[in-house]
Symmetry: C2
Subunit: 373 residues, 2 copies
């Protein structure tokens, strides 16, 4: 277990809001449009073609509203009150492409922007905004056959609860009753939950599009809660994987194999995770070498040849991050794994940080490499 790598990953999670936006002296284009993640009928927040975000919040009797997006390290975006009771403001610089969490500070209290949809992150339902990415087509909702995302409730004796997971089944699932599919177990990060990969990540649309383009053979994705939200900053060294490992490998995997058309063996089972989900993937794939044949860490640390020695060979080790994280570390780790004879692949997402566009792109790169036999 490489504690330093985990600490780096978590530090990146916490630091990301401090460095999302760049100060800029460019002229702001007045081509703002309502964010695609707004609630029905809401005009604000708005995003322009450069990635600037403009906010507008009604609170006639409030004294101050600040938005935790844009130059967070210097206080986010402070809004200015007009005579009509609205607070408005624009980020000082453009935001990175992709998805960002944020919230408001209204007279010192934490509230969500009433204009946006909410996404579970930082152990709370946060406001979300999407800066259209130049490559957004790969996760767009298109007129192609769609897979389904289904909520399952599976019995967990170890925790004495009925636990929730979401299962993506590809568009052709169930049409041929005897066809069986490989399975990717895909984990969210710290502060998130089992809703993250389909809501923020668009994992289902990424898969639908890859399948429609003939770039991958269909497989199932299972996403459950990684029990990571009790981890407080600084408490990472005390994290015990055992509880989640038991739920995942002793309860969820057998439930999925019993209830879905899966190829129920190690060679057709992969595990991947983002950030703390990468840490969990790292720990569980090493602790249970009989379970998974494909390993993927998305902004979630690295494997070393030393820790893989004496373990059965993984069919693939995929390690990724955003270019604004620590790509050198990812590339160096993959080079070392390759030197040691492992089938390792690195991916660095251009111009993104520890956020969901990095992970959407990582899934798009990972999926065609899985289940190649």
């Amino acid at each position: 277990m490489n504690l330093k790598s985990l600490t780096i990953a978590l530090a990146a999670t916490l630091a990301v809001s401090l460095c999302e936006a760049q100060t800029s002296t460019e002229k702001i284009k007045e081509d703002f449009q309502a964010s695609t993640l707004n609630q029905p009928g809401q005009d604000y927040p708005r995003v322009n073609s450069q990635g600037y975000v403009r906010f507008r919040i009604k609170a006639p009797k409030a004294d101050s509203i600040r938005v935790t997006l844009g130059l967070g390290g210097r206080g986010g975006t402070k809004l200015t009150k007009d005579t009509g009771g609205y607070f408005t403001g624009t980020t000082e610089g453009p935001m990175d492409e992709g998805f960002h969490y944020y919230h408001l500070i209204v007279d010192g209290g934490v509230f969500n922007d009433p204009g946006t949809l909410n996404y579970y992150g930082s152990t709370r339902w946060e406001s979300g905004i999407e800066i259209p990415a130049h490559d957004q087509d790969f996760y767009a909702l298109k007129d192609v056959p769609h897979g389904n995302v289904q909520q399952i409730l599976f019995p967990s004796k170890s925790t004495n609860t009925q636990r929730r997971a979401f299962v993506y089944t590809p568009g052709d699932y169930g049409k041929n009753k005897s066809k069986k599919y490989p399975v990717l177990y895909l984990q969210h990060g710290w502060g998130e939950d089992e809703t993250a990969w389909s809501n923020q990540g668009h994992a289902n649309l990424i898969m639908d599009n890859l399948i429609a383009e003939g770039k991958i053979k269909p497989f199932i994705i299972v996403m459950t809660y990684g029990m990571t939200n009790d981890i407080k900053p600084g408490g990472l060294r005390n994290f015990k994987i055992d509880a989640f490992e038991t739920v995942l490998t002793d309860e969820l995997v057998p439930y999925v194999d019993a209830n879905f058309q899966t190829i129920a063996d190690k060679a057709h089972r992969a595990m991947a995770g983002l950030s703390m989900g990468g840490m969990e993937t790292h720990l569980i794939t090493l602790a249970k070498p009989e379970e998974f044949a494909y390993f993927a860490l998305l902004s979630g640390g690295v494997y070393t040849p030393a820790e893989l020695k004496d373990k059965p060979n993984a069919k693939l080790i995929f390690i990724s991050c955003g270019s604004k994280e620590n790509p050198t570390r990812v590339n160096d780790a993959v080079a070392a794994l390759k030197d040691a004879g492992y089938n390792a692949v690195s991916f660095v997402s251009a111009n993104t940080a520890h956020e969901f566009l990095t992970w959407r792109r990582s899934l798009k790169e990972l999926a065609p490499l899985l289940f190649k036999d």
Copy 2:
């Protein structure tokens, strides 16, 4: 078409927040517990055994916070600021059992309570709270076989979009590849969407429990967006059902029949809806008599013998509401339908208004009456 009945239903929707709580002089018991709908780790809002709700919101620099729950007609619950920067307050009277939507007014602005989960109602994601009902066991999450709720994306030529629906499949679905199931099409109310029946309504848990107790034969439930949210108060007379009717009967029903193990005929297809979803059920079942054999209006108007004359006989007409709505109208309508020879059933939910406990109970009463051939 009975316009008066629709107006009454909509008026009830809008009026409900004005009459949720009763003024009371009883002593408030200090046995408050965190609401079951709170976000992870949140202690407030809290509910006591009498149904009082206590709120606590941090906003150190705010001047006023009001909660739109409890005696709404007199301004909801006004919170009081303490020296620690928290606003606290308790509803003046106990709330009805079951689920309630609400939000905060913070210095004149509309925000959600950061302590609670959010539910789509009133055309926005609202804060939700649950007052434990004496009969809550029927929608409790139990250690029984669970069905799945899956998000489907179906192509809609008439609206040129990929539209979303949620499909409940019972626990035994798919185990026997040749077993086919009847289908209930179940609609939400005005201001809600396709998430309402599983999130607020617990339709899946109600079904799981009824099936586990042997009270019903398993069937599928399909829930989609009824396109009702553009209806503004007062504009109801202008509501045109055509667009939704086309999506439902020409696009969704055929998609479900092509992609799920359904018995694809009228005799095994039911339609039900709550409030404006009842109005839609009313209109569509009358306009498309070849589609559905079972009709159910939940706080959503009534059928009259006159409008059913010359139509094929429904196998069942189910009409329900809460005792705090207009039960006399429901009972009278069902009596008239019975007199005219129809198989009509009424249900009145005790001590509830135009809210989700009425509709959870209605589904529990309706389900055993469906697909009895």
